[in-house]
Symmetry: C2
Subunit: 679 residues, 2 copies
């Protein structure tokens, strides 16, 4: 071992995975050596052997790469504090508390990922960025000087001094609840407290003694469902997720009927605000209970939602979003006390609403964009978040455009004769035999197909109750591929000769997917509803393609709808422009993920704010071409646009001409004629 | 008239009182010329002829001093806007709206004080500084762009753009109530609103159309009474003042009994907080009603009070102030939403609490110091604010010290046998004939002395109900000067031979000030109570004199007590160290004045915060010399300290020695001996 200039023996220390190295006097604490080298090691207790966040793992053996022999006797034996921590809280074998263990010789010391301050949350999909943990609020344990009559000073001022000297934090202000609880906390904790401090120096809460847990809530307020993800602000882990129906549904199933409710019932927005805020409290409580977390440990909320949900959650009357020019109250991010929106978690907790993009493109779209990051890619990506409105973003690192499209709720299974939400018992997959026209299907909650042996028994506990959005898409695509339905969306009554599943219904025909109780069928009206929805969706996307002047190279389907849909069937029906099917991904609740990113990483907030400011907003209502695109997009997959990528995978039926006997004006006529023929 | 470089005729304009001058093209608006020269002219409406704050007065005639001939035809005729304003709101003759009047020739234009942004509030006493009006919040009228579907942006963002372009204001954040009301305000006001913006860019409220009024409340929370002064934030004028008893009195007359109540009734602080906050709301409402002001026009509160009142108003449990080491929760200023202390004025109103100096030296002392400004003077000033505790500040521009002294409530007339608060019917002035020992007195609410003709009739409507603090001081000083009471505070029973107003009472003697119902007398116990109080007061002041090492050159008596007291009598009793009587001033409610300064001038807040940080805090409880000073100060005016300045004005009785028959240990012994003699 080398000797230092002051004659004291020194040891060579190498930290992995950073590779940072240096010589330190024997007797130096591992944490001090790490800090000296700028190695990133976490700590809440400030090196007092309480929090256990600074764990390291000496790697023993010879490391020729580092030119170090790292031996077991090169690190101190377990001391009293460390033993007590291991006994009380548990610690993996081989792990040491770097604030207690002392260097006694050359060592290679590994800093595991969970001991780093700037931990990363690794996301499952390789193409999206990991989340660096850098929350807006952190916990700091401090020892505070007792008051002294000879040098009178306020308790808060001595806490500030302690935070400055022990953590180099400048407290800029303290919330009133802190002032109200500080004196008792200091005395109950025998002048040791844990302080929750925001990045800007705001002291928002104090606990007596040591407090190691800090959580946040990522909240997605959908028109239909609300979900919260209780997230550990220090590890990034989601410790519980709960959801509930949005209670505003009683004021109207879709967004516009809720806005109409407010227009017709002045003050109605307050009922809706109360309903959503109450549910938020309920969900926060449920998530906390499930995870065994105290509500006061929830220090931060991030909320996303479409513009109307955003406004209602904030207590802003949404009527202006119900008519042109669809003016938002604000298109900036909103940060306030959770208390201001009546959410009862930690009294110092803040709530951050991601910015809305435009009158119909909400904070949810901002969150999806944040989560999916089209702005970091070369490829032109089309991001579609289908809710009651479709929110559509298109572009790449050079330019992003956004619009919304009034799809209505049909793609979610609403306003469909046998439609239902995606829940147990809902048909979610359908295949139709092109020869016999017989269907087979799968329901949510049962792993078997309807023609598998034992399906009746296996599906009995969930039943077969209806058909959800993805089921609707699949059955219609299969009907189209099997020739039951024409490219213009007419259920072909002549097919009734081939199969008794095609039956007349008024002046049109329906296709029976399932006989029995309930009978589940696809009616001509159902087809029309889906045509309108998908036409709007396609038209919005195509409008952005026109503006950008570049074709779609990649499609991201977000939202509950997107997570169940098979990209192939979406393409067969022509929901989105043609694209290599390998480049179509379903990403599930990306809005929730975006909320979680903004919860865990404060820089992500600035990022999404800049992003939203830069996105070019297109208002479909003022674009003449939207209507043209819409009309063309009513056909499957499209009246004129080619689908070369789709056709590599699927053989589309040859497009019939009017001379082939197809009724190009659809609905009534065809049915009437056929009925006459039948009668 | 000269010609400008572009050939257009120019005129010479001189603004008074600033003397700023310049040449402007004929046709320039007076306001534009003023702005160009940096002449300070107010405006809320931004030069739209609505607010009338930019009034100027052309001075007509020849001004050889300025080398200008200023003629009536050198300024435009009244235009439509100006006429409408004059008709609707009224305007003094000769006045013009500078935003409407146009320069048509050379002019001397006077800017009256009430048209300046940085107006000064002139205070009555010459020795104190005037208040420059520079409030934390100002009103700005703006015209906002309407939303446009082709360029979608939030309503708030367009308001921000308008405030930037029309007022050069960068809005940093908007309160939630602004977001909740903004859209309606914009549409109701036809895209014209008035915004209340704080100095730091926080947008706190919006009104549709023009709103010209902004008020603040200066609040003094005394242990006994609470008072609010509703103040115009634009003119500095106090538009109404109301007061009420502090409702906490039901929990204890003096401060310490209230703290004891909390100690014995956990949670009792919440009752007291609720009581004081409710009263604050009541007083705010009353002040607003009296002045015809809408509660939403109250945009700011400044609060002062002793540490216990400060803590209770904020909802902080004051128990720590009840025992050593008397730790404050904070000794910094506290700024929060008025809503957080449950005061319902404008929802965006903030409340600012001046900082407390130390555990027994409150925000009221800070306010008194701010109002009186000893830190700007050469003379060593002693500032005494007598409440239940005396808060004492001593020093000059070089150094300030502060302490508090436990005087108890005797100096305010409490715990005195015939004592009462200063109210109608209370004896406030007393003179005793040194020969006959007959008293004469005045009561509050009656201008006559008790020996004036017609006193019985004149005083009948208020009655004679008791004796208040200043009456107590005067009667005791007169008793001492007349020889009825010794320097050691013994009422001399031998004087009973001279006057039947000296009567035995138990083992001591009393002096009857008024016979009848109620009989008003000064008992030996009353004298003892005053001795204890004034001894404590003197000792605190003397302790500071010791620390400073310099004698008192000036005395400021603040508080309700101070405002009624005659400095000579305060000195005769030795309440404060000797000082030139011409240098003793009573300043009334200086704490309220300090609050008003902090309300009207935002820089005063930084000033008082620095001041409080710099004041040296002396804790009397740990100073051994305090007890010595206290014992010496029990005598009138003092056992040993000379009162040369006082003796220039008043002949003090020669000090008797023990041999002269005085009983130096006082109370019981003297009485007993005398009774024996009598018996």
């Amino acid at each position: 071992m080398p000797e230092s200039s002051n004659g004291k023996e020194e040891a060579l220390i190498v930290f992995t995975p950073s590779g940072k190295r240096g010589s330190f006097p024997i007797g130096t604490k591992v944490l001090d050596a790490a800090r000296h080298l700028g190695v990133d090691i976490d700590s809440v207790c400030g090196g007092r052997g309480i929090c256990g966040r600074c764990q390291v793992q000496p790697s023993l053996g010879d490391f020729p790469k580092f030119n170090v022999k790292s031996h077991a006797d090169h690190i101190s034996e377990f001391g009293a504090k460390e033993l007590r921590y291991k006994e009380k809280r548990g610690m993996k074998d081989g792990r040491r508390l770097s604030c207690s263990a002392v260097i006694e010789g050359d060592l290679v010391i590994d800093v595991p990922a969970d001991s780093q301050v700037h931990k990363q949350v690794v996301r499952k999909r390789a193409e999206v960025r990991n989340i660096e943990i850098d929350p807006v609020v952190r916990l700091h344990y401090v020892e505070v000087e007792e008051p002294d009559m000879h040098h009178p000073s306020g308790d808060l001022e001595r806490v500030k001094t302690a935070l400055k000297s022990q953590w180099d934090i400048d407290v800029t202000r303290a919330d009133l609840p802190v002032l109200q609880t500080l004196q008792k906390a200091l005395r109950d904790g025998e002048w040791k407290i844990t302080a929750a401090v925001r990045y800007d120096g705001e002291l928002i809460y104090v606990w007596p003694g040591f407090q190691g847990n800090a959580y946040g809530l990522a909240v997605d307020i959908g028109s239909t469902t609300m979900s919260v993800h209780l997230t550990d602000l220090q590890t990034g882990e989601v410790v519980s997720s709960v959801g509930a129906m949005n209670p505003q549904i009683r004021f109207g199933e879709d967004l516009m009927s809720r806005v109409s409710y407010v227009m017709m019932n002045p003050g109605g927005e307050q009922e809706m605000t109360a309903a959503v805020q109450e549910t938020l409290n309920f969900l926060a409580g449920q998530a906390a209970t499930e995870a065994g977390v105290d509500l006061t440990e929830i220090l931060e909320l991030v909320l996303v939602g479409n513009p109307i949900m955003h406004h209602l959650a904030l207590g802003i009357n949404p009527v202006e979003l119900g008519w042109a020019p669809f003016a938002l109250a604000t298109n900036s991010a909103v940060e306030l006390w959770a208390d201001e929106i009546n959410v009862r978690v930690n009294p110092g907790a803040r709530a951050y609403f991601l910015p809305c993009v435009a009158g119909h493109v909400g904070a949810d779209a901002a969150a999806v964009t944040l989560a999916e990051g089209p702005q970091y890619r070369e490829e032109i990506t089309l991001v579609v978040d289908v809710g009651t409105n479709a929110e559509i973003v298109l572009g790449n690192k050079d330019r992003l455009l956004a619009c919304s499209s009034p799809t209505g709720p049909a793609l979610e299974g609403a306003q469909i004769s046998s439609g239902q939400r995606a829940a147990n018992g809902a048909i979610e997959r359908v295949r139709i035999d092109p020869e016999t026209l017989e269907p087979r299907f799968k329901v949510i909650g049962c792993d078997l197909w309807s023609d598998d042996d034992g399906f009746e028994l296996a599906s009995a506990k969930v039943g077969v109750t209806g058909i959800c959005g993805s089921g609707i898409i699949e059955v219609m695509a299969e009907m189209f591929l099997a020739g039951i339905m024409s490219a213009d969306g007419i259920i072909d009554g002549s097919m009734a000769e081939k199969s008794d599943r095609i039956v007349p219904e008024g002046r049109t025909f329906s296709y029976i997917v399932r006989r029995g109780e309930p009978e589940i069928r696809v009616t001509q009206a159902d087809v029309r509803a889906i045509q309108l929805a998908k036409g709007a969706l396609y038209a919005g996307a195509q409008l952005l393609v026109d503006k950008l002047g570049k074709p779609v190279e990649r499609v991201v389907l977000a939202g509950a709808f997107g997570s169940h849909i098979d990209p192939k069937y979406a393409m067969v029906l022509g929901l989105v422009p043609d694209c290599d099917l390998d480049k179509v991904v379903s990403v599930g609740n990306a809005a929730g993920t975006g909320a979680r990113i903004a919860l865990l990483n404060r820089k992500a907030r600035g990022e999404v704010e800049r992003l939203v400011a830069d996105i070019e907003k297109i208002e479909t209502a003022v674009e003449a071409k939207f209507q043209d695109h819409f009309v063309g997009a009513m056909a499957f997959p499209h009246k004129t646009a080619p689908y070369p990528n789709l056709q590599k995978v699927v053989a589309l039926p040859a497009r019939k001409t009017a001379q082939d006997g197809d009724d190009s004006d659809g609905t009534a006529g065809g049915g009437r004629r056929r009925r006459r023929r039948r009668g």
